[in-house]
Subunit: 258 residues, 2 copies
């Protein structure tokens, strides 16, 4: 270990073990609290707790059996043309308030809450429940707020809570984790706030801190493929009572790419 | 500290201090090596070293004085209409091989290497050098490979090296860090590789690991606003001799949003 030199970690990313399988109707904040209480990391003031979307959706009953979905002609035609699951296409269309692209086997939509995602953010569940999918939570910011309040009250700390999901990007390959729910922190950090050499304010100085935090947590969620909760410790986020993940959505009228 | 329970960190994100100001022609690998040698973290086998684009561009002389740029009529007109810097617009147009959008004050382009970014990825330099901008490295994957080789040889370890830049996203507010150069690791991780309940391969199972690593590093680069090099320790990336950041660019023919 580098000649025994002391290592002073600046940020730690820690898995929360022991959450167990989550089912519709489960008290997720209780289960999470128990997992945290049983883990060596605990929950400290200033921690950021990142939860994957799937456990939140499951606890909230946003689970659908694909075999029980009544498929429309349009969904069936698109699915058959591109060898996709017709029930999944049907659900994605139902969850969408706008279809951005429906071509080449891709279905990119905007949801009622404004998330732009493939298949309206619908995920297949895990292997144990083949044939089930999870829909996005109805209001993931409300979910984040409620979970944070329960955990803060139980552990007597102030923390931030993020709900994370993996989204694709139009010009880049692969998916990254982004925040679909947030509570307790400013999701956008205007850390530069500078002017250019003629005194004009610099554009594009906002950093999507909540998305960077979710991406960092995704390094653990992805590898283990079964870590649904991750703590980020040591990050000096800006505390906020009002900021949430809806602020990460570009307003429709400023969108150059729909 | 949580009743004294031992905390077992899974991932650490560590700043590399002491790099100092980088100037055109500087030997960046030597400077980086010296900074690492002087830092308590050192460089261990399996570390991921993330460098911000700006120091790489500077060392490679990709620095331009805005006052010396000859501005075309088109750049001048666009800049004047939206109160932008005409020299910056001119440079962005020169660096572009394709202009995706040039409207509402936004100039979104594709560079010769295929990066889609605002203003062709041109950054204003820091306050000390008002009036200067940095262009993206000519070949940031080659830069990453060369830097990695020099560091591996000096420290006798195998590591991964990423060059990071902050890019905007079409549907989300704020910028996140992504990899524009990579060496030593598979940039895309096909960690799921599952089939759906009817045995069809799941789509969209690739995770952009290199981008997640850059976003994690960005948590330190952003806050301190002066940390140009960050180590990520404890992440079990997949080693690779051939993978690089060009693999993170969606091929033009699969792009639904140009």
């Amino acid at each position: 270990m580098n000649g025994g030199a002391a290592v002073e970690p600046e940020l730690q990313i820690l898995p929360v073990a022991g959450l167990g399988e989550v089912h519709p109707g489960d008290d997720l904040s209780q289960m999470l609290g128990d997992a945290i209480a049983g883990s060596p990391s605990g929950l400290l003031d200033g921690d950021v707790l990142v939860l994957c979307q799937k456990v939140v959706s499951k606890a909230e009953g946003r689970v659908v059996e694909l075999s029980e979905v009544e498929v429309s002609d349009e969904a069936a035609a698109f699915a058959s043309r591109f060898d996709k699951d017709a029930a999944l296409v049907e659900l994605a269309m139902r969850e969408a308030v706008e279809i951005l692209r429906m071509q080449d086997g891709h279905l990119i939509t905007a949801t009622a809450k404004g998330f732009v995602a493939a298949n309206s953010g619908i995920d297949r569940s895990n292997q144990a429940e083949a044939g089930q999918v999870t829909l996005l939570p109805l209001d993931s910011d409300a979910s984040a707020r409620a979970l944070r309040e329960r955990l803060q009250s139980r552990f007597k700390v102030e923390c931030a809570l993020l709900i994370s999901d993996t989204f694709g990007r139009p010009w880049r390959m692969g998916q990254v984790d982004v925040a679909i729910g947030a509570a307790g922190l400013e999701v956008l950090d205007d850390f530069q706030g500078r002017e250019d050499w003629k005194g004009r304010p610099l554009e594009h100085t906002l950093i999507a801190v909540a998305d960077q935090l979710c991406a960092a947590a995704g390094l653990l969620m992805g590898k283990a493929a079964g870590v649904p909760a991750v703590l980020i410790r040591g990050f000096a986020y800006q505390r906020s009572a009002g900021s949430d993940a809806s602020q990460l959505l570009r307003p429709r009228e400023n969108d150059l790419f729909r």
